[in-house]
Amino acid sequence: MNKLLSSITLSFIVTGGLIAGEITGVVKYIGKPPKAKRLRMDADPVCAASHQEAAKAETFIVDAKGNLANVIVYLKGVKYSGKTPTQPVELDQAGCVYSPHVMGVMAGQPVKILNSDATMHNIHGLPKVNREFNFGMPKTLKEKTISFDKSEDVFVVKCDVHPWMKSFTQVFDHPYFAVTGTDGKFSIPNVPDGTYEAIAWQERFGSKRTLSQQVTVKGGSATLNFNFERPKKK
C-alpha cells in the first residue's frame, strides 16, 4: 500500500513540477540591529544548568550580513485542495527554549510537542480562532501530539512555568509557506504558476508591520526578497 502511494505521489510531483515552480529568496534587515537580551533562567536550576553561556532572547536574530532569521514568508489567499500532510511538525522544549522559535503548520497537520528537558514545562497556546490549549508536560511526559483545525494568523505559544519561553505559530490551509533560517534564506516549492501576494512576518515588527510583495511564478522558479527596515523615529 505504501509503495503504491509513494509512486503515485512521485508521479504527481514530476508532473506537477512541469506546471509549478519554486519561490526562493532572502530576507534581510537594513539598519542597526537591537541588542539581544539575556534570558534569566535562575528560577529553574535545570534550565540554568542546560546553558553554558547565558541564552539570549530570540526576538531578533540577524547576522553580520543583515540576514534575518525566523521570518515567516507565505502566500496569501491561495486556494489549495490537496492533501494535508501527515508528517508531524516537531516543537521541542529543549534547554528551556522552544525549538523552532517560529513555525508554520497546516490545518489538520499533527504537531508533535516534545519535552527534552528534565523539568516540567507547560504548553499554553493562545490562538483566537482555534481552541486555546493549556496542559502540563511533566518531565516524564516526553511527547504529546496536537493539531489545529483552522487556519489562523500568528499566535503565541508559551510556557506558564518558565515565563521567558515564547514561540510563534501560524496555521495555514495551504502549504505555501516557509520560515527563514539563520542565513535569511527560504524556499517554497511546488507553487503552481500564477501571480500571488506574498507576506513576510517578523516577531519584532509584528502583525502590524508585515511586508507585502507581489510574486509571479512561471514554470521553474521565482525570486522573492524582503528587506525589513528599522522604522524611522517620528
Binding site: F135, G136, P138, T140, V156
Partner: protein
C-alpha cells in the same frame, strides 16, 4: 396538612417522601456515597504526591492516554475534593441526615414543621451535587481554583468553574430550606414538658448549626452571583483594572477587587467550620453521656459555650486573610476575636472530658470513636492557635500546616463523630445493630492511619511546604528534607481507605441480618430511644405523643433500680 396515608405508592414512600425519617436516610446514603467519592479523589492526588509524574496504576486511563495526573487535573481534584467533602458530604450527613432523622424524634414531634419543604431541600441538594460533578465532564475539566474559588483566577478559569458556581447556588438553597425547617421545628414542636434546658445537647447543636447556616450562607450566595456575572456577563466585580492574563491585558472595565470575594467568601466559610464541628459535638455528647452511665458535666456550660461560639463565629472571618495587607489595627481586631472564640471550644472540650470522670465507661464502637474524637479535636484546635495569630500565620499560611490543622478537626474530628453516630443510631434506624468486631477493626485502623496521614503535615508545613502543589514540593529546595514524608502519608491514606471496607462490609452484612427490633439496646434516656420502635413508626413516630418530665441525661439516678431513667418518667 393533608393526610398522605390514603394513597401511598412506591414513589411517595421511598422517593418523594415527606417523612423526615426517609429524607434523613436519603441524605445519609447520598452523603456517605459522596464522602467515598471525595476520598477517592484524594487517594489519586496522594499517588501523584508520593510518586510525582509517574503513571497512575489501575485507573490511570481515566486521566488520559498518558495516564498521568497532570498539574491542571491535580488542581481540579484538589478543588473538588474540598468542595465534595464539605458541601456534598459532611454537612449533608451531619445536618441533613442526623438532623432531619433525630431532631423530631428527640423533641417528641411527629415530623418536621414543614415536611414538603424538607423533601424539597433534599432534592435540591441532590440536584446541586449532580451539577457539581458535571464539571468533570466539561472542556477544561472541573473547577480548579481551590474550594475557595479565589478571583482573579476563578473569574478567568475554565468552564468547570461556572458549573461549580451553579452547583453552589443549589446547595446553598437546599441548606437554607433545611435550616428554616430545623429552627421552626425546635422552637415550635417540642413536646409537652420538653423545655429548652431539657433538650438533648444534640438538638441544641443542630439548632445553633441551623442558625449559622441561615445567616452565613447568603453572603456566599451573593458572592457566587457576582462571580457568575463576572464570568458570564463580563462584569469586573472582582477584576482589578489592568489585569494581565496570559500575557494580555484584560479588556474588562476593571475597578473591581479580588479582596471583595475573600471577604464575602470567608464571612460564610468561617461559620461554616463551626457548622462542621457543632453536630459532631452534639453526637459525641449523646454517646459519652450514654456510655459513661452518668449525666454530662456542665450541660448549661455546654449550651452557653455553644451559643456564644455561634455568635462569635461571625466576627472572626478575616483570620483567613491576615496576609492580604490589612494593617495592624484590623489584624489586632481579628486576632482578638479569634483568641476569644477559642475559649468556648475549650469549655466544650473540657466539659466533655470531665464527663468521663467517675463514669462507668463502656468501650463499644461508638464510644471508641467518641473517645478518640476528644484528643483529635484537641490537636486540631491547638494547632489552630498559631494560625489565629498573625505573626505566626505569616510563616504558616497556605502551607501544609493549615491542611494538617483543619483535617485534624474535620477528619479524625467530625468524621469520627459521624461514624460514632452511625454505629450508635443504626439499631434505631434499621432495627439491627452493627457488628462490634468489625466496628472495632474499623476504628483502630482508621485511628492509626488518620494520624499517619495528617501528623506529618505539621512537619512539612513548618518546613514551609506550600499547599496545592501538584508535585508535593519536589521543586523546592526548602522541602527537600521533608519530602520523604509524602510517601508515608500516601500509604497511610490508601490504608485508611482500605480500613473503610470494614465499615462498608459491616453495613452491608448487617442489613441482610434479621431485624431484632430492640427498642433501646444502649439503655439510653432520650425520647428517640425510649418512646419509638426500631425503626420508628412510619407515620407519626410515636404510638402516644410523649410527655417529658426530666432532663436528657438522668443516668444512675440515686435510689433508682436501673442505671438510666427515661425523660418521660414521672418524677
Amino acid at each position: 396538612m393533608s393526610d398522605n396515608h390514603t394513597k401511598e405508592t412506591f414513589f411517595t414512600k421511598y422517593i418523594w417522601s415527606i417523612d423526615h425519617k426517609v429524607i434523613g436516610i436519603q441524605y445519609g446514603i447520598t452523603a456517605l456515597l459522596w464522602l467515598l467519592v471525595g476520598f477517592g479523589l484524594m487517594m489519586v492526588m496522594r499517588y501523584q504526591l508520593a510518586y510525582p509524574d509517574t503513571q497512575i496504576p489501575f485507573i490511570g486511563w481515566i486521566f488520559g492516554e498518558d495516564k498521568l495526573l497532570l498539574p491542571e487535573k491535580y488542581n481540579s481534584l484538589g478543588a473538588m475534593h474540598g468542595t465534595i467533602m464539605i458541601f456534598l458530604g459532611v454537612v449533608p450527613l451531619a445536618f441533613g441526615a442526623f438532623g432531619n432523622y433525630l431532631v423530631p424524634l428527640q423533641i417528641g414531634a411527629i415530623d418536621m414543621a414543614f415536611p414538603r419543604l424538607n423533601a424539597a431541600s433534599y432534592w435540591t441538594y441532590f440536584l446541586g451535587s449532580i451539577i457539581m460533578v458535571v464539571g468533570f465532564f466539561v472542556p477544561g475539566g472541573a473547577a480548579n481554583s481551590g474550594w475557595t474559588s479565589y478571583p482573579p483566577l476563578a473569574d478567568v478559569a475554565t468552564a468547570g468553574q461556572t458549573v461549580w458556581l451553579l452547583g453552589m447556588v443549589m446547595l446553598i438553597t437546599s441548606s437554607l430550606l433545611g435550616s428554616v425547617n430545623i429552627m421552626v421545628t425546635v422552637i415550635q414542636l417540642r413536646a409537652e414538658g420538653m423545655t429548652w434546658f431539657r433538650l438533648p445537647i444534640f438538638v441544641w447543636t443542630q439548632f445553633i448549626t441551623a442558625f449559622l447556616l441561615l445567616l452565613a450562607f447568603p453572603p456566599l450566595e451573593a458572592a457566587g452571583i457576582l462571580q457568575l456575572m463576572d464570568r458570564l456577563a463580563g462584569t469586573s466585580f472582582f477584576l482589578p483594572t489592568g489585569l494581565v492574563v496570559s500575557g494580555e491585558v484584560l479588556t474588562n472595565a476593571g475597578g473591581g477587587s479580588p479582596l471583595l470575594w475573600q471577604h464575602l467568601f470567608w464571612f460564610l466559610a468561617h461559620p461554616e467550620v463551626y457548622v462542621l464541628i457543632l453536630p459532631a459535638f452534639g453526637i459525641i455528647s449523646e454517646i459519652i453521656a450514654n456510655n459513661t452511665r452518668k449525666p454530662l458535666s456542665g450541660y448549661k456550660s455546654l449550651v452557653y459555650a455553644m451559643t456564644f461560639l455561634g455568635f462569635m463565629s461571625f466576627v472572626v472571618w478575616a483570620h483567613h486573610m491576615y496576609l492580604t495587607g490589612m494593617g495592624t489595627t484590623m489584624g489586632a481586631f481579628f486576632q482578638t476575636t479569634t483568641m476569644i472564640i477559642s475559649i468556648p471550644s475549650v469549655v466544650i472540650l473540657t466539659a466533655l472530658l470531665l464527663s468521663l470522670w467517675g463514669g462507668s465507661i463502656r468501650f463499644n464502637t461508638p464510644m471508641l470513636f467518641a473517645l478518640a474524637f476528644l484528643p483529635m479535636f484537641g490537636i486540631g484546635g491547638l494547632t489552630g492557635l498559631p494560625l489565629g495569630l498573625a505573626a505566626a500565620d505569616i510563616h504558616l499560611h497556605d502551607t501544609y500546616y493549615v491542611i494538617g490543622h483543619f483535617h485534624y478537626v474535620v477528619a479524625p474530628g467530625t468524621l469520627f463523630a459521624l461514624f460514632a453516630g452511625v454505629y450508635f443510631w443504626f439499631p434505631k434506624v434499621t432495627g439491627k445493630s452493627l457488628n462490634e468486631s468489625l466496628g472495632k477493626l474499623h476504628f483502630y485502623f482508621s485511628f492509626i492511619f488518620m494520624n499517619g496521614v495528617f501528623m506529618p503535615m505539621f512537619i512539612q508545613g513548618l518546613a514551609g511546604v506550600s499547599r496545592r502543589l501538584a508535585d508535593g514540593g519536589q521543586a523546592y529546595a526548602h522541602a527537600a528534607d521533608v519530602i520523604y514524608l509524602n510517601e508515608i502519608m500516601s500509604w497511610s491514606a490508601w490504608l485508611l481507605g482500605m480500613a473503610q471496607l470494614f465499615f462498608i462490609a459491616n453495613v452491608v452484612l448487617t442489613l441482610f441480618k434479621a431485624r431484632t427490633g430492640e427498642i433501646n439496646p444502649w439503655n439510653a434516656t432520650t425520647i428517640d430511644w425510649t418512646e419509638t420502635s426500631s425503626p420508628p413508626l412510619g407515620h407519626g413516630n410515636f404510638e402516644k405523643i410523649p410527655v417529658v418530665y426530666r432532663g436528657p441525661y438522668e443516668y444512675s439516678v440515686p435510689g433508682s433500680k436501673i442505671d438510666f431513667t427515661p425523660q418521660t418518667e414521672k418524677g
